[in-house]
Symmetry: C2
Subunit: 293 residues, 2 copies
């Protein structure tokens, strides 16, 4: 079966899907994106992704290329045409095509690209295989709350992680605090047993999976703190994990080569994975979707 992509009104063979060389996404990183997970044929956290997309577009003053309702239909149609039951839908909106010049062009129509890809179904056993993370300086721009395609520092960080044999790189601000991973949110369970993840601010992208885990934890009567944590605190933590639409809740068992806790997947991490899967299967995604910075 050939992959199908949606590009500005047309469903095209993925291999032939193209955008103009003066699309501002290509020349200026002037665009935003979302990655929707599909789990057993259901969209996960659709409302949250749409609200966050709204935030990103508003902050950059990029127009919706089509209505939110039409976009929801296209996302489903791209998943359907690619027969994706478990996997992801990738959506990118840019300011559109215009003669190259820095200021916002006049009379420019936003570009929309939607693709989908099958992935192996969520596998709890695999997620419970612990992975390593490294820590690197956070050299990104200062608006991480906007899910822009300005991802160059993220890919450099991810590459550095892979070359170090690690799954992810946690980015550390100048004051020594872990902000987030290059494509995931970062979590620890402190020495005293407290679940902690960075609070919502311009310093992180508020993950949909992050929100689901927080709501699932609340539902199970678990407490948590939303605040920055230092590398030192993470090194002393009992447990650690990362979350994202495609990493779900993934156990972290080493930081910069040092074991986290006893080096095995933590008890609370395992519990949160179960709670998360139950939550998305029951609720579809987070209800609280209005807080983006």
């Amino acid at each position: 079966m050939s992959r199908i992509a949606y590009v500005n009104g047309q469903y095209l063979l993925h291999s032939e899907a193209a955008v103009h060389i003066e699309d501002r996404g290509y020349q200026f990183a002037d665009g935003v994106y979302e990655v929707f997970a599909l789990h057993r044929g259901q969209m996960v956290g659709e409302k949250g992704h749409m609200e966050r997309l709204t935030h990103s577009l508003n902050e950059l003053r990029i127009d919706w290329p089509i209505s939110r309702r039409a976009l929801a239909i296209i996302i489903r149609e791209v998943a359907r045409r690619n027969r994706v039951k478990d996997g992801l839908v990738y959506l990118q909106i840019t300011r559109g095509v215009a003669r190259r010049d820095h200021p916002f062009p006049k009379d420019c129509e936003s570009s929309l690209v939607v693709t989908a890809r099958q992935l192996p179904p969520l596998d709890k056993e695999a997620l419970r295989q612990g992975v390593g993370v490294i820590t690197i300086p956070d050299i990104r721009w200062k608006r991480h709350d906007i899910k822009s395609v300005s991802l160059l520092p993220n890919i450099l960080g991810k590459q550095q992680a892979r070359e170090a044999g690690a799954y992810e790189a946690w980015m550390v601000s100048e004051d020594g605090m872990v902000t987030e991973g290059t494509s995931t949110n970062a979590w620890i369970v402190t020495k005293s047993g407290q679940l902690v993840t960075h609070n919502v601010s311009h310093a992180i992208l508020n993950g949909i999976t992050r929100l689901s885990v927080l709501e699932a934890a609340t539902g199970a009567g678990l407490s948590f703190e939303e605040r920055p944590f230092s590398v030192a605190e993470a090194m002393e933590a009992k447990e650690a994990f990362v979350t994202s639409s495609t990493s779900h809740v993934k156990a972290v068992t080493s930081i910069d080569g040092e074991s986290v806790g006893n080096g095995h997947v933590g008890e609370l991490t395992g519990q949160l994975l179960d709670l998360y899967v139950d939550f998305i299967e029951a609720k579809g995604g987070p209800a609280n979707t209005s807080i983006w910075n």
Copy 2:
């Protein structure tokens, strides 16, 4: 006459020139660019642009899509096919097309796009019409020495300038120093008459026009200091100007709405414009092209 663009081995109608939706330039801002000025049919500062391109590619570990020699031929050919005598050639190289995933893909061929555009010839009278700049926080990532397409903060800054009726926005680091404009280098002539521009570091892009002006000044026996200057120092300066391949040496007569010096184009600024034009016409561009950070 239709514009012609070069895209990965082919000369195409500009209107039909496209790149794949999974070009990493589009999805990750994983690419670099250069803008070459043409002045009276001659390429300005070609060696400098090529050396800087080499630096950008090396820092990001992106392969040359073709040899530097072949690239030089293509740049000329694109200018020729578009009949550009005064104007610019835009060149963009990205890591290429690969299934979307953050780490560097294996076996990926770099993408190359080259376009050209006619502009009005360099007009000293117009450049001596002073323009205004505003100052804004520098929220960019920390590797400004790499000329990447990760330009989202730059376009937001330029847009902010335009909405304030200004030509450019000067970006100010957390310690209050002007780094550079969103697409130009920033210069002042201090109260005591000293020519100053930010030193080369990761905090600025070392402009080819900047280098030409420094060499032209040296040739004329003018002294200068390469160091950061604060907004306060700029507000008290006698003169100010910006440089870039397309702004050349452009007088700045107001900063955040306050007049610079007597509000008229400064004497040294006018002299440097003359020296710059003489320099590029005689020398073609800077000789010292080895310092990129």
